[in-house]
Subunit: 303 residues, 2 copies
């Protein structure tokens, strides 16, 4: 999966991931009009997402779908989440389910089946939510992560473990120093490298990636240096305040090693740029691609 | 909410929480027969859960519903999750949604609405999943937690933050020492105390509780001593290996301060004890109540 994702990034010369953190509020007024139920909201969000996917699918390699924005509409929202993932895959995009799941082993294996595998019922196996990659939280340690890596190996999927998050308070815990001088985020990064050891692909990156905020350039630089086999999912560009220069250090000498998420900056571009929301999203992606390329340079598949 | 939960524990002299981590595999054969779809599995799980709730609702104060076991059946599973929560509430039980959610502030506020509040659509506000309390993961720091505490204050709800988890690998990260000598779990515990400061109720406990594994008696003892206003959700009793003696130190001098979860030991009791699954679950709860009371003593509402 990670090899194919890297190949898609290189083919499109674009490490942009479109974040479908689709708040109902983001929709143009005409799509919200008269909606007064979870079913109606979920349908409107799905229609909006399809418009975004259609507008950008030839330009970007992946979407990240933030499940919280769907859970708030109950099971109807989850249906829209599933259909959004399925539609993006149909259009050739990689789908990152941003769920930050975490639990003890037996429970983690349920989550792993839900997002990366299949659920068995009698002699049938059915896919619940069709994602290629899933974000997870490593606070519970190895036995909470290994059920996910097992599913990655089985189905050629991937995960991203939270290492250094993009939010201001991320530092409160993650940047504290351990008695041996490492920070907590560095420790988590080292565990990610270890969890990925058995799934390193042909470009040197494993199926176990890390979430590393673009808003934290110093930490990102350090992590890029230390975690040679860890691919980064990089949130924080745009609305959260990071620019291309801040995330240059997330990439290796071949211009690969990370994918940069932008949600509001693309979904809500129409409010600043005018035009339809789809046209504006496409224009925002084109602009972001230029911005990232000018900093990262040419991306190439090499080990 | 925490006051009412404590009052229910004292009224029933039982700090047992029944874990509805209802794996489809746990169901008696006759309930699984012929089921070959998510819809069928979800309906069977819901029917099983209702049987458990009916069998134990006069004996226990609360249920904990582990959402991973529902997500693996897609939106049909989530419907069963919602209906399980609603049914338990109807029967007078407190509902802990065990979701371990976590994200940056804007996204955390979606989760908070989904499980503890309401989702606004136009001028309507609708409840997505009807829980009283929610488990969360604090790795992202304060701005990932405050949206949940805001919802707790608004709607008299509660959260439990992962502090010291019950799984074997929980130690890998949580027990590491910081340069000032504290462990990471102690640091997380201190943050929990701080996050709960503004919601301390009449028995001295706040709306912000902690998950503290019964399998970790040393850590639990230390945390109980340090976190005077933090109510504990205590997993690990039974199938995970902890007994009543191991969790005595989770309770204060009034016999309150925690609620002890048991999932498999109750849901699957019928396999060991015979009888219907509901009868066996009730018997297992009676036995657990005796076991806990004999160690904890009389529980009383006092500050």
């Amino acid at each position: 999966m990670i090899d194919q994702l890297i190949e898609a990034i290189v083919a499109k010369q674009n490490p942009t991931c479109v974040g479908l953190d689709t708040s109902f509020d983001y929709l143009p007024d005409e799509m919200k009009e008269g909606v007064c139920s979870f079913e109606g909201a979920a349908e409107a969000i799905l229609a909006f997402n399809k418009g975004i996917v259609d507008a950008v699918c030839d330009l970007v390699p992946a979407v990240k779908v933030q499940i919280a924005y769907y859970e708030m509409y109950g099971e109807e929202g989850l249906k829209a989440f599933r259909e959004t993932c399925a539609y993006a895959k149909e259009k050739g995009l990689f789908v990152i389910a941003d769920c930050k799941r975490n639990d003890i082993g037996s429970t983690a294996s349920c989550y792993a089946k839900a997002y990366l595998g299949e659920t068995s019922i009698g002699d049938k196996a059915i896919e619940a939510f069709p994602a290629d990659m899933l974000t997870v939280n490593g606070y519970l340690g190895s036995d909470g992560i290994l059920p996910f890596t097992a599913e990655c190996e089985k189905g050629n999927k991937g995960i991203f473990v939270l290492v250094k998050t993009s939010n201001p308070s991320g530092d409160e815990i993650q940047n504290l120093k351990l008695e041996d001088g490492r920070t907590i985020y560095e420790l988590m990064g080292e565990m990610v490298e270890k969890w990925g050891e058995s799934t390193i692909g042909k470009y040197g990156y494993s199926a176990v990636g890390a979430v590393v905020g673009a808003t934290k350039p110093e930490e990102a630089k350090r992590l890029r240096g230390e975690l040679r086999h860890t691919f980064f999912l990089i949130p924080g560009y745009g609305a959260q305040g990071a620019n291309a220069a801040m995330l240059k250090n997330c990439f290796d000498e071949n211009g690969i090693g990370g994918i940069v998420n932008n949600s509001r900056g693309i979904l809500c571009a129409y409010r600043k740029k005018g035009g339809t929301y789809a046209e504006a999203a496409r224009a925002a992606v084109v602009e972001m691609q230029k911005d990232l390329s000018s900093t990262i340079g040419v991306m190439q598949c090499a080990k």
